[in-house]
Symmetry: C2
Subunit: 341 residues, 2 copies
Amino acid sequence: MKPRITLKKIASEFGVSISTVSKALKGSHEISEEVRERIQAYADYYNYKPNNLALQLRNQKTSVIGVIIPEIVHHFFSTVIDGIEHYANQKGYNVMVCVSNESYEKEVLNFNVLTNGSVDGLIVSVARETQENQKFDHFKSLTKDEFPLVLFDRIIDEINCDKVVIDDVGGGYKAANHLMEVGAKRIALITTEDYVTVGSLRKQGYLKALKNKGITIDESLIYYIDDSKNLYQQIEKVINVPNPPDAILAVNEIYAANALIIAKERGLSIPNDIAIIGFTSGLISEFTSPPLTCVEQHGYLMGEQAAELLINRIENTAPKDFQKEVISTNLKIRKSTFIDG
Amino acid sequence: MKPRITLKKIASEFGVSISTVSKALKGSHEISEEVRERIQAYADYYNYKPNNLALQLRNQKTSVIGVIIPEIVHHFFSTVIDGIEHYANQKGYNVMVCVSNESYEKEVLNFNVLTNGSVDGLIVSVARETQENQKFDHFKSLTKDEFPLVLFDRIIDEINCDKVVIDDVGGGYKAANHLMEVGAKRIALITTEDYVTVGSLRKQGYLKALKNKGITIDESLIYYIDDSKNLYQQIEKVINVPNPPDAILAVNEIYAANALIIAKERGLSIPNDIAIIGFTSGLISEFTSPPLTCVEQHGYLMGEQAAELLINRIENTAPKDFQKEVISTNLKIRKSTFIDG
DNA sequence: CTGTTAGCGCGTTCAT
DNA sequence: ATGAACGCGCTAACAG
């Protein structure tokens, strides 16, 4: 790659000082018109652009936001990034994306790289392994230095920073209520292990809805999926039982879509024999047969809000107390739970 | 945010020079053991880390790769990013992702930001608008300066740089052949406008396969979708005709899934009345009913290869001539085209 | 009008 | 064993 042109080179070319060139290119009125135009023409010709690194170092500001997410091949997370990108660009920031791959070690690595001056702030959704082992020291050392940080979706309560979450309890509640409204009596819940906060919160919503209607919780209807094992086999156990449930609430789209397929294989009619509802994050729900009713999560909005909180924090236009924004969900009713007369 | 600790501060704290501190923290044997240990302890306590910007400026190397893609909420592109991330991290690079949103203007903007010293090289998939208007000056000025650049998927033939593409012609060919093998006589093609290179290449494969079998091309069976208009209505016209085709080849997953739904609504049996095949990029194909046969694209591998080409170029370990890697596709046969006896 | 100086944070000769 | 000086590229306060 050819070396880029610098102020220094231009200056030596014209036999003037570096600062003269700098001023000329900024259109300063301190510089004579003639000199300014000649310098400008030369700079244009050689396509001069100020070196960003130098500017960032000088200004002590990168205008870059770091984002650390567990996975990128995931509709929900990519939607959030899209929202972050959009808001950030609008405010003159760029985005640097790193993937933790659900690994604690990789997350810490990403922390180290990004907080060494490369970014003005960080937006993070916590890796599963980190959640599981409750190792939060890297977060704590960040907040101790008041480094601008926003947690989203998978958050940590004990860390003091701005946060954005989905109303997961409300989503689970709405979903379970809807199932009861369409006549379900025995609603199975397919959820994650409890240390995954979002799964646990959605379960809370489910429990709350049932209790509200005076239904006693049947623990045998709650299934905890281990994502490292075979999904199909685990979900089969929900349906291939002597007395299958008449409704399923799954905490994500993949679980729901698998349940749907297994139910059909077993010859159950949906929603008549069994109604199914999921939390959506992708496009699958639209294209199953029948299409799946789901709780919509609004990841894009979440990303925008996270970016807004962070940039306000960076630019010191935020209130001193940390905010916690809650993104509400809504039900998208499709034919897996309800057939329009 | 609290100011970060610097060599300068440590130096003044100990009453020594900056370079002494620098050497001490690098474990240089020029520094007496005693001083070194005291400085090290102090630095550890205050969690000293060298400022990346300063290092980058000094070393004239950022170890960051810029990526510009048309969309991020797109399974194929996020898979590619994943591959780029993986390979890049392994080689000590980080990734900065920008989205052009299919807009020429945004693409140029991203170019300007990223090529100002922030990254060592760029991996790009061209925005639709740029392809449509054939405005490639920003690419040309980059290659003129020998800036490390890799194009992937949506490439530009006339730009001299390393490239990675899917074997789109081969994919279209395999797909059409498969349809003929399972007995299709009248294969409709649902494709994009021709300026979208990948659509046009897949069409070429389709044409080649048909000609190979001595079938005359029926232009009325080729449908060009305008993505800015209603998808469902456009695809309806393929199927809701007096004499519908007995097979459909769609150049992406969404087109295929829509075709499947419309065919079922019309009461056609799949694959008996009509076989359907798509190019996959997401998870939809697995969960439709019946599941969709598709051409698999291996985006992750594509990302890895793109990153490898770029890093070799950056580190001057690449051959002088530009490479063009072709990622081959394979058919994933499911029940939308073939029912296993 | 133009130039000098200093500083952002770091590493690296080259002196002492 | 330690430090001074320089350069990476840029801007801004200050001097002339």
